[in-house]
């Protein structure tokens, strides 16, 4: 356990451990509502899994609240998911990746890969122009050769792919 998970009172913070069971509980309830009025053949499998999941989550919550009542733990998030600085870094990576996914249909695979690599490396603190240009160029070119030329994968084509197709 990390230092941050055990504050001065000596209690472990277990709020983060509740995210998955609570998400599971909400999903099971949503799933059950989505199968409420349909034929039994379509219901039975989901009913079986969601019932077991709800029982397991209930058992986990009872166990957790027992520990809470005994004063062994508290419900704060603690540092299990990382320090605030790391959480911002992760959020930044997720934002850059989302932009990459959204830009892919317009820019095509090769160009968006290149720009994604440049943006992520810069975000992680790489400042050398050689590295900022060279690594993305190698990755984008390697990806183009492997996925588009060799494996003929159906990736979105953009200006680079169109240009290369026109030349070769």
């Amino acid at each position: 356990m990390k230092a941050g998970d055990k504050p001065e009172r000596g209690k472990a913070s277990i709020g983060a451990e509740l995210i998955i069971p609570v998400a599971g509980l909400l999903f099971a309830v949503y799933y059950l509502t989505s199968i409420w009025n349909i034929r039994w053949e379509a219901q039975v499998n989901g009913l079986f899994h969601s019932t077991i999941l709800l029982i397991l989550v209930a058992a986990f919550l009872i166990k957790t609240f027992g520990r809470l009542a005994r004063g062994e733990v508290d419900l704060r998030l603690g540092s299990k998911l990382g320090t605030p600085r790391l959480l911002w870094q992760r959020l930044g990576l997720i934002v850059i990746t989302s932009v990459f996914v959204l830009a892919l249909p317009w820019l095509g695979f090769t160009l968006s890969t290149f720009l994604f690599m440049v943006a992520t490396l810069a975000f992680f603190g790489i400042r050398s122009p050689m590295k900022l240009a060279g690594i993305p160029l190698c990755v984008a070119a390697g990806g183009y050769v492997l996925f588009i030329l060799a494996l003929n994968a159906r990736f979105p084509h953009g200006p680079i792919e169109d240009l290369l197709a026109a030349i070769f």
Partner: protein, 498 residues
């Protein structure tokens, strides 16, 4: 099968070494890239396999198939990202070995276990084809449901430190796997209104998100994947480490053989697949070990067991295809399409009309494994150096290439978003002790379990007691209960003893 026929097919396979070399090279590369499994690649290469003679086409497909099993272990060991579902169990001990600077040894162990396990099981399959095929006849829908629940339970017990958390992860995965329209009335269930989820949760984005994206989110915490001692060890690594890996493998030869046989038997059951086999082999290996507490910390047996079983499945899953015409997995299903296109009869007729083709599948496997042994082991020294690259450079490459892999199978941008959602789920799961492997195996088994569950219920007119009516089924229920309760009682016994 006569000795003459055996030598004939063996020489025929050996004479096609150039084709096998090409196919195994492609197979190892695509196996190592999450999202590009054997079946995807064979589909992409259908114009080739449909155009050439079926003997050449089948040799190519089989060699590529076995090589992807081997390739899937590479990212599992070096980056904690399995290339295929079957390599998920390899991450449990493979990645800790890499972190300790033993990536080279772990890779050699994986390749040796794959090669020897694959070789032994291919030879065993050659001589036991008709008997192994009977396994498929003895297991019906009821037993299949229990086997799959057994798989989830095993993973909960093995992978997670807390069994309750492991079970929550497994059943959450099963419920996620139940998303999509039902098989009979096509009623959408749990789809959040997304049309893209009507066919169910696609496996590749789930695999990529749970393993690759979540690992990338974890990786940015440190500048290097390796521990300090591990880095120092890696920097000094020479060919001696490769030989050490070879020696470690030879010292555990019997371990490779028996875990490979587990894979062969499970592979012969249509639908069970490498994901379950590798975990069963890992669990069995831990159960019979004198030091079970070391599993998960990076020990050779923890790499050998899943990798050998994974390759045993390769031999086993083709048996039902050839003997009874039922594909044992997705790749076998694609192969069946190619065989049908060429007018090749499956089942008993194949062994009468073209026995060379039927047995040739296994001799091709034997030749492929021998070729791979010499082509891939010398590369381990260079492959393992991936772990020395700073995470600053690795993370963008992993995110970019794996997301692209999520897009590849269906060409939906939605799947890339789905992989990111699974990535966040996987990250939280990793950080809070809910093992991602349980969720993934649940997602993989979800649609299969529904199929067998419904079939069993329809055959019994909706009577739920059908699940307790078969002898094999009841035996499996007992095993399931034992595997769930055993850790609890063993723990209490050890406490009492102390």
């Amino acid at each position: 099968m006569t000795f003459e026929l055996l030598t004939d097919v063996l020489f025929l396979s050996a004479s096609q070494w150039w084709l096998i070399l090409l196919a195994t090279t492609i197979g190892i590369i695509v196996g190592a890239v999450p999202g590009f499994g054997a079946h995807n690649t064979i589909i992409i290469l259908l114009p080739f396999t449909l155009a050439v003679d079926i003997h050449i086409g089948l040799t190519f497909m089989v060699a590529l198939y076995v090589a992807t099993h081997m390739g899937g272990g590479i990212p599992a060991i070096l980056l904690n990202i399995p290339g295929t579902g079957g390599a998920a169990a390899t991450t449990l001990d493979g990645f800790p070995m890499s972190k300790k600077g033993q990536g080279q040894q772990a890779l050699v162990l994986s390749f040796m276990a794959s090669t020897i396990g694959g070789l032994v099981t291919a030879i065993a399959a050659l001589f036991t084809l008709p008997y192994l095929a009977r396994i498929a006849y003895s297991l019906h829908s009821v037993e299949m449901v229990i086997i799959m629940l057994f798989g989830i339970t095993l993973i909960a017990v093995i992978a997670a430190k807390d069994t309750l958390k492991g079970l929550i992860a497994g059943f959450l995965g099963l419920l996620i796997g139940a998303i999509g329209t039902d098989h009979i009335y096509s009623t959408p269930r749990g789809t959040f209104g997304f049309l893209e989820l009507y066919d169910g949760i696609p496996i590749v984005p789930a695999l990529i998100g749970l393993f690759a994206i979540s690992e990338a989110l974890v990786m940015i915490e440190t500048e290097s994947m390796l521990t300090e001692g591990g880095r120092a060890r890696m920097l000094k690594a020479t060919w001696a480490e490769t030989w050490e890996g070879v020696r470690m493998s030879i010292a555990r030869l019997w371990h490779i053989v028996w875990t490979g046989m587990i894979g062969l038997f499970i592979g012969a059951v249509p639908g069970a697949g490498a994901s379950i086999a590798s975990f069963v082999a890992y669990q069995q290996s831990r159960m019979y070990s004198k030091t079970p507490e070391l599993y998960g910390t990076g020990i050779p047996e923890g790499v050998i067991a899943p990798e050998s079983a994974n390759n045993g499945v390769g031999s086993g899953s083709l048996i039902p295809l050839l003997v009874i015409g039922i594909p044992g997995g997705s790749t076998a299903a694609v192969m069946m399409v190619v065989l049908h296109y060429h007018g090749v009869p499956l089942g008993q007729r194949l062994f009468v009309e073209d026995p060379g083709l039927a047995y040739g599948v296994f001799t091709t496997m034997i030749v492929s494994y021998i070729i791979m042994l010499f082509t891939i082991i010398p590369l381990t020294r260079y492959l393992s150096r991936v772990t020395l690259i700073s995470t600053m450079y690795l993370v963008p490459v992993i995110v970019c290439f794996t997301l692209v892999g999520a897009f590849a199978p269906r060409a939906y941008l939605f799947d890339m978003g789905l992989a990111m959602a699974f990535g966040i789920l996987g990250f939280i799961a990793r950080k809070t002790g809910y093992h991602v492997v349980g969720i993934l195996i649940g997602v993989i088994l979800g649609p299969m379990i529904e199929q067998y569950f419904l079939r069993a219920l329809r055959l019994s007119d909706g009577d739920l007691t059908v699940f307790f009516t078969s002898t094999i089924g009841n035996f499996l229920w007992a095993l399931l209960a034992i595997s769930l309760l055993a850790p609890f009682f063993i723990g209490r016994f050890r406490k009492a003893k102390a």
